[in-house]
Structure formats: C-alpha cells, structure tokens
C-alpha cells in the first residue's frame, strides 16, 4: 500500500438554488486531510432568522459548523478538540440570532445540522483515520470487499435498509439548544480504501444500500478518469435524489486512478451477480449483503 492521499473531491448540489441546507468542507496538507459533509435539518431547523438574511436555522447551521470544522483543521489541533470548535460556531450563531427565532417541541432545535467527517494523519508508514459524526449523515469505506457503513446512524430505527422506508427520528444532532454528542472513532488504515462522507440525499432515495454501492462502483469502473467519475457520480445522484446532496470522497493508498478502478473490478462483478438481480427481493438480499456492509458497525 502506498501511504498517501490519492484523490479528494466533492460532489454536491442544491435542490432549490440558493436555499440548499447541505454544506461541505474538504482540504489537505502534506500530512493531513479532511472530507466532511453537513446536512442542516430542514424540519426542525425550518425557522427563518431575520438576522441571517431570512435564511433557515438549518441553512445557517450546516455552513457555520462547516466553518467551525475548517477552523479546527487549520488550527492543527487533535481530533478530540473538534467538538469544542463546533460548539464555538454554534455559540456565535446563538449570540447573534434574533429573539423571535424560538421553536419549541422535541423536533424544534436551534441551528440543527448533521455531520459526517473523515479526517486523517498520513505518514510514510501508516495512515491514522478518525471519523466524527452526528445525525444521519454517514461515513463509508469502499474497498475491494465492498461498501461498509462506518458510522452508526443516530436514528430511532433498525438499520440502513429499514430506514429507507421508515424515516426514523434522529436521536442526536448537532444543535445550539440541546446537548449533543459528536461521536468519534479512530483506527489505523492497513489497506487502500475510498472514504466517503455523505448526506442522506446521496443514499436515502435508492431502493437499497446495494444500489448505493452499485452507484459508486459502477460509476468508478466505467469512468475514463477522475473528472469523468466525479461528473458521473453527480449525474447519477441527481437522477434519483429528492434532497440536497453532498458526497465528499477521499481515496487513500492507490498509486493511480487506474489502480483504484482495478481494485474494484472483482467487487463490481460480485455486486451485479449476487446483489443486483432483476426483480430481486431487496429485503432478502439485504440479509446476506449486510453481513459485510455492517461489519465495522458496533
């Protein structure tokens, strides 16, 4: 494995121009990188604020928290200090919010947003990865063994399949009015992998988690180059989604785009032969598929 960042990019689009509630941040230095996606919660954060150009709390929150995470990254501090930067960004929002912006109720939160953040420290010998998350945005690892959800959804629901239809209620989300947890998990990466931080606009409108993996893998193996992969990812998500979407991608350990593609050719075949059978019962296939998909979930 060649330690180092192979590519880093974002695919993102708003459903309604100028009112998208997603945000993102990605950056890299010589030995660090970050790929992050944020999704302002439109239902609970639907209150508009005069002091914030009449935008909703959700719209403002995802951007402010993204800014807080950028400030953390620029500071060079360790991952366990990230939450204090997130909190500081929320404190500023609260301080300057107009008083009329109060919303009550269990769903009513001030400046709510999800976060899915992959950050890493790269040396010549190894790569240390940290995942930070809250809400229903997700970090994934795509490698030769398939797609793996790395972060547990903060949802009152069973799993990635059932939530496509049930829309569980979020049990933890970054916000300025109630306590929240920015979960964190760190590990050492021993083999090449493609890390993805995504909002639910990317994966929440497909028939099954298998379809999401196929969207990623089929798009990659058919692409001529990195730019065409990026464009095709955008086209495919755009075609199915019903929400703003943000997909940040950080690939680690590949010597070239071609090597990254080749690493997934066998998986592409398995996916189509075993999990994407026409007229298949997705629920039945999911029972088999989720063994590998969920192997890193607690």
């Amino acid at each position: 494995m060649k330690h180092g960042l192979s590519c880093l990019f974002v695919v993102a689009e708003e459903m309604v121009a100028g009112h998208g509630e997603d945000s993102y941040y990605y950056a890299a230095t010589e030995n660090r990188f970050i790929a992050a996606a944020f999704d302002g919660c439109g239902g609970s954060g639907s209150k508009k604020y005069e002091n914030y150009s009449k935008q909703t709390g959700a719209y403002v929150a995802s951007r402010a928290v993204s800014g807080g995470v950028k400030t953390w990254f620029d500071s060079g501090k360790k991952e366990n200090e990230m939450q204090s930067y997130v909190q500081a960004s929320l404190d500023v929002l609260q301080k300057y919010a107009d008083a009329g912006g109060r919303v009550f109720g269990s769903l009513g939160k001030a400046f709510p947003t999800t976060a899915a953040i992959v950050s890493g420290n790269i040396s010549k010998r190894n790569t240390e990865i940290t995942l930070s998350w809250a809400g229903d945005s997700r970090c994934y690892l795509l490698n030769a063994n398939g797609l793996h959800q790395l972060t547990s959804d903060d949802l009152d629901d069973e799993d990635a399949m059932s939530n496509l239809y049930n829309d569980g209620i979020m049990t933890n989300v970054i916000n300025a009015s109630t306590p929240f947890t920015l979960h964190q998990l760190s590990f050492r990466l021993n083999e090449p992998g493609i890390f993805i931080a995504a909002t639910d606009g990317c994966f929440g409108y497909l028939k099954s988690p298998m379809e999401f993996e196929n969207l990623l893998v089929d798009s990659l193996v058919r692409a001529e180059n990195l730019q065409s992969w990026k464009k095709d990812l955008n086209d495919r998500i755009h075609a199915v989604t019903g929400d703003d979407y943000t997909l940040t991608v950080a690939a680690i350990g590949y010597a070239s785009f071609l090597e990254m593609q080749r690493s997934l050719l066998a998986r592409h075949k398995i996916l189509n032969q075993q999990y994407l059978i026409p007229d298949y019962d997705a629920n039945v296939l999911w029972q088999q598929y989720k063994q590998e998909y969920s192997r890193y979930l607690g």
């Binding site: 309604v16 439109g42 239902g43 508009k48 909703t56 109060r102 109720g105 239809y165 829309d167 199915v240």
Partner: protein, 228 residues
C-alpha cells in the same frame, strides 16, 4: 440501476382550526391558506423532486363545549386532494370565527379527534401530520363534559391523550415514525405541556390573544413540506 425508481409519499394531514371569535382577524387567512394548501405543498415538494402519490386532508374545527354546545366541534372525513377539492373548499369556506366563551378553548378535544383519525397505512413512505392553528390556551380535557354535546370515548385527561399519541415505550394510535404534530399555538397550557413532553412535535409559539399574524405563511408551508 435505480434511475427509474422514485420514492413516493402518502400524506395524511389533519387541520385542527380554532374557530372562536378571537380568530376573527385571521380566520379568512387561515381558510385561504388551507385552500391553497394542496398546490403550495405539492409545488414545494416537487421543487425538491419529492412526489406525493396521495394527499388526504381532514378538518377539525373547534370552539368550546360549554359556550358553544352543538357548534363546539366540526369534524370531517378525509378529503382526497385534488379529487375532492370542491367539497373540501365548500367545507373550509363554511368555517366562521365566533363563540368561544372564556379565553381557553377545547383544543385538546380537537387534537384527540385528530389522533384517532383513520390514518393511511399504505405507501412507500408515509406521513401522518396534525397541524393545530389557535391563538388560545386549552381547557383541561373534560372541562365541557357536562355539555350534552361532549363526545363519548374522549381521553379522560392529558395523560391518556399522551398515551394515544404514544412514545418510545408505548405504541400509541399513530405510526411512530410517520407522525408529526405542528403546533401554531401560544406558549400556554396545555400546548406547552405537549411540546415539552411529546415526541415528534414542532411548536411555533404565537402570541396569545393576538392571532397568528406573526407567522409567515410561506414559512408554515416550508415547515410542513420539510416535515414530509
């Protein structure tokens, strides 16, 4: 691939509308909004590439059993929109703001009727949304039970009504994931008890006795569309 695959939504909504005298200055606005509601919500949803397969709307117009007797509660079946638009319009246009007696109203009884609706359980994704519009606090449940018009089988108190709504431990009468309660109501008893204790509630506090003028209609539509 799933490019032809589109999630579809079956949406049931119950409007609980305070029709007492204090709502006089805004009842026409509420009525107009209710009539524009189908187009506004479907357009907002369509702009987000979300497609409603079926939208049903039910109206519960409420006042005060003690003061208004037979006129205290008007409850309709679900109207399927846009198919039943003409009947729905006739119903909404018939609403008028008068009566009510003292300041609090029987909003909890209206909410109870709404919770006990015959909700649709079909569809890929479902939403069961109750929207309450009022400028008044509530009487305790049973306040008007000496009226000959008080309904049988009503929740005895807020505790029983809470069990009808349900929680993580208790199933309730609505779909746990699909249900939403949107309160456009003052920060006053028992609306504030509900918004503090029930799950899946969004409460936009209005100023008691001052109608709902401080709430922007576009914002309300966005709240509802974002809750779907």
């Amino acid at each position: 691939m799933g490019s032809n695959y589109k999630l579809t939504y079956n949406v049931d909504m119950v409007f609980c509308i305070d029709c007492t005298g204090s709502m006089d200055n805004i009842i026409e606005i509420v009525k107009t909004n209710a009539l524009n509601f189908y187009n506004d919500v479907t357009n907002t949803m369509a702009a987000k590439n979300k497609h409603i397969t079926q939208l049903r709307v039910r109206v519960v117009a409420f006042r005060d059993y003690v003061a208004d007797g037979a006129d205290a509660m008007m409850v309709t079946d679900f109207f399927r929109l846009p198919q039943d638009a003409a009947t729905f319009e006739k119903c909404v246009r018939s609403l008028r703001a008068d009566g009510g007696g003292d300041d609090p109203e029987d909003g909890l009884e209206a909410l109870a009727y709404a919770i006990k609706s015959k909700w649709d359980t079909e569809g890929m994704k479902r939403r069961q949304v109750i929207v309450v519009w009022t400028d008044a606090a509530t009487h305790p449940l049973g306040f008007g039970m000496n009226s000959g018009f008080y309904p049988k089988g009503m929740a005895r108190d807020i505790r029983e009504l809470s069990s009808w709504w349900g929680n993580a431990q208790e199933k309730g009468l609505m779909d746990r994931n699909a249900k939403r309660l949107l309160l456009f109501a003052p920060d006053a008893p028992d609306w504030n008890v509900i918004s503090r204790n029930w799950d899946n509630v969004l409460h936009f506090p209005s100023e008691a006795g001052n109608g709902l003028q401080n709430l922007d209609y576009e914002e309300i539509i966005n709240v509802i569309a974002n809750s779907l």
